[in-house]
């Protein structure tokens, strides 16, 4: 069966200098929700806009259900529903007028009234777009994509800047679309969003995929499953609190160690092996434990470990 979206060695170079994408390969299956994660400037938006046919790649190939943008763009446009980052819809049209306008571009759109009802915008149908709240606008942006009756839904950071309630409403909508057999490609800044929505995801940094898989798989492979966080005091001021990470990394069962503002985090597979050894090492060095917690590894840990950056911090 052909993949919903497939791309091979995509490259994009701006002004012959800036390499936004440096060989991207993806295969997204029909019916799955695929997430592209990465810090700002990693190339997510460039990648998604090339897949959407809005940008020309410098080299490489894109196939959507086996068809290419050069030969079948009219057909592909009928199949895609797209929500871009930062589109400002016309403020002095009503919600209904906006949806009907977008519906008019497609050969066989869904009924505007149904889509508005689904997205909880029915009672706002006659309000001007300019009067909507941020969450309502974002849902309207997704509605303009859904009214196309698309086979693939592209969402570029659909929940950035939304309150938790509006985010959950959007997740619900994406889930419904997927349960109806649709394919979703989304980019996001939020780990919980990716973990909750995505069947598979790829982490992009510096224009390349650095890890790919299901959220659980990535956490297991790269997050070390568990994280032990602690801080110690050496009693006298001579030793720096961060100190050298090597002694901690050498403890049994530790896969990786990093320090963050005096808090040392160890990625471990088996806490019951590592923690006794850790306690021994602390007392053996005449230090005092100030703080110790263990928790399940999250995508955030995977991300920080891979990119050395927190996802949400500005690049």
């Amino acid at each position: 069966m052909t993949a919903a979206i497939e791309c091979r060695s995509l490259r994009k170079t701006y002004d012959a200098k800036v390499e936004a994408l440096r060989g991207l390969d993806l295969e997204i299956r029909e019916g799955e929700c695929f997430g592209l994660l990465g810090p700002n400037g990693a190339g997510k938006t460039t990648a998604i806009e090339i897949l959407e046919g809005l940008l020309q790649p410098t080299s490489g190939e894109v196939r959507i259900f086996g068809r290419g943008w050069h030969t079948d763009s009219q057909q592909l446009r009928q199949w895609l529903g797209i929500s871009l980052q930062e589109t400002r819809l016309t403020e002095k049209l009503t919600v209904r007028e906006t949806i009907e306008l977008f519906a008019s571009f497609y050969r066989q759109p869904l009924s505007s009234a149904e889509v508005l009802a689904e997205l909880g915008l029915a009672e706002k149908a006659d309000a001007w777009v300019g009067k909507l709240s941020g969450g309502q606008r974002q849902r309207l942006a997704v509605a303009t994509a859904l009214v196309a009756n698309p086979r693939i839904l592209f969402l570029d950071e659909p929940t950035t800047g939304l309150d938790p309630q509006s985010r959950r409403q959007l997740w619900e909508i994406v889930g419904q679309f997927q349960r109806g057999g649709g394919t979703v490609l989304l980019t996001t800044h939020y780990m919980d969003e990716a973990e909750r929505l995505c069947d598979r995801l790829a982490i992009i940094d510096y224009g390349q995929i650095i890890a790919q898989g299901t959220p659980a798989d990535l956490i297991q492979r790269l997050g070390g499953q568990n994280v032990v966080e602690f801080s110690v005091s050496f009693g006298h001021a001579s030793a720096s609190p961060n100190g050298d990470l090597e002694p901690w990394r050498a403890l049994p069962g530790v896969e990786d160690a990093r320090s963050d503002n005096g808090l040392i985090s160890l990625s471990v597979r088996q806490p019951h092996v590592t923690i006794p050894a850790l306690l021994e090492a602390v007392s053996g060095r005449g230090a005092r434990l100030l703080h110790l917690t263990t928790r399940q590894a999250s995508l955030e840990d995977v991300f920080v470990r891979l990119t050395g950056r927190h996802l949400r911090e500005e690049a």
Partner: protein, 400 residues
């Protein structure tokens, strides 16, 4: 907006059904019509008609558009029409200094009371009044030389006038004429004069077609150029081209919206001229509307050209003003461009607004047919600008 989770779930039951209808089991949807039961089908022009309706609504809901497109030209026409309204040249006020012979002069002057108002006042008062502008001219009777020809009961006269005051110059010429004729001068050249201040030759008649042209330029450049860059800056153009929307339809809808707006624009200003200033329209309305269409299309093309690359509305505003400024000055909106040196006349005539204004004036004021020699040339100038700007704009235009 806060929807309790319960409602979300309740809604999802119905909505899943509708999304399921849309979901393909396999292969492209077009090959699977059974899945599409009840789906809407859009025809070839559905996108175009929706885009046009959306654009018209958008403009109609923008109070600024209503003001600048409709009200502003009317205010301008009204203000300038009042300021430069035609008045009959005022009748000169003449003071005759109370000297011997003054009475005889007054009798002569009173034979043509419609040409001048004359009265006898003491000389000092007459000169004072002249300084203050109460009198345009002072006539001082003096002693007649012994050997002068003609009626020797009349004095010799001396005029006090100010060559820098047009009304004073006029008063001197007119008074002299009246007095000499009354004193028996025979005109060697028989002449008859007929007063003619017909509608059609007044300033307001010159002005209204110029304002029509200027308004078509303003609203074409702003309505297309500004709107496009605004869409581009808001990433709305990009959002549109991410749909199957036909790009040509989008531009066509924008142009059509200009043409739709052009009709009331033209009609309102002309109706205002007719009702308030009793302007007479000599040409056919069809010809005027056709000129309006051509003018609107020309400036829509120029608007498209200025907007083809600009990313920010600030930069397109500058460009639009840069393009329009020379035409405000040179194209004969408020005054005739004949006042500029002859060398630049061909350049001025090559400007699209000059061609439009000249064509509108010829049609509205003189009833010139569209294909008459001079008119056809103006139409060609506009067509050339329209064609050139559309071709360049479409090859340069950026959607993102």
């Amino acid at each position: 907006m806060s929807t309790p989770p319960k409602t979300v779930r309740a809604r999802s039951a119905t909505s899943e059904k509708s999304l399921n209808v849309a979901a393909p089991e396999s292969g492209p949807r077009e090959e699977n019509p059974w899945l599409r039961a009840g789906a809407n089908r859009n025809g070839r022009w559905s996108g175009y008609t929706h885009l046009l309706a959306a654009r018209l609504r958008e403009m109609q809901r923008e109070p600024e558009v209503i003001f600048w497109v409709f009200l502003f030209p009317l205010l301008l026409a009204f203000g300038l029409g009042i300021a430069f309204r035609s008045r009959p040249a005022s009748i000169p006020n003449v003071a005759i200094a109370a000297e011997p012979g003054a009475d005889a002069l007054l009798q002569l002057a009173q034979r043509s009371p419609q040409s001048l108002h004359a009265r006898i006042v003491p000389e000092a008062e007459a000169l004072d009044g002249f300084r203050l502008g109460r009198y345009d001219l002072v006539v001082i009777p003096t002693e007649r030389p012994k050997n002068a020809p003609g009626d020797n009961t009349l004095p010799q006269i001396e005029y006090r006038y100010d060559p820098a005051r047009p009304e004073s110059v006029l008063a001197r010429a007119q008074t002299d004429d009246v007095l000499q004729a009354a004193a028996g001068r025979a005109n060697p050249l028989p002449a008859a004069a007929q007063a003619s201040s017909e509608p059609g030759a007044r300033y307001i008649d010159f002005l209204i077609p110029g304002l029509l042209g200027m308004n078509l330029m303003n609203s074409g450049m702003w309505g297309v150029g500004f709107a496009l860059v605004d869409y581009r800056q808001r990433k709305l153009l990009k959002r549109y081209v991410a749909t199957p929307m036909r790009r040509g339809d989008f531009l066509l809808a924008l142009m059509t919206s200009r043409l739709v707006l052009m009709i009331p624009e033209l009609g309102l200003l002309l109706a205002f001229g007719i009702v308030v200033f009793h302007m007479r329209v000599a040409g056919s309305w069809l010809a005027i509307v056709l000129l309006g269409v051509l003018g609107a299309a020309t400036f829509a093309g120029l608007g498209l050209l200025t907007a083809s690359r600009a990313q920010k509305i600030e930069s397109v505003s500058g460009l639009i003003n840069l393009v329009m400024m020379p035409m405000w000055i040179f194209s004969g909106v408020f005054f005739s461009y004949e006042r500029f040196p002859a060398v630049v006349q061909p350049l001025i005539r090559a400007l699209p607004l000059t061609a439009l204004n000249d064509a509108l004036r010829a049609t509205i004021l003189q009833g010139a047919p569209l294909l008459a020699h001079a008119q056809a040339g103006r139409l060609l100038v506009m067509l050339a600008w329209a064609a050139l700007s559309f071709i360049l704009a479409l090859s340069w235009f950026r959607w993102t």
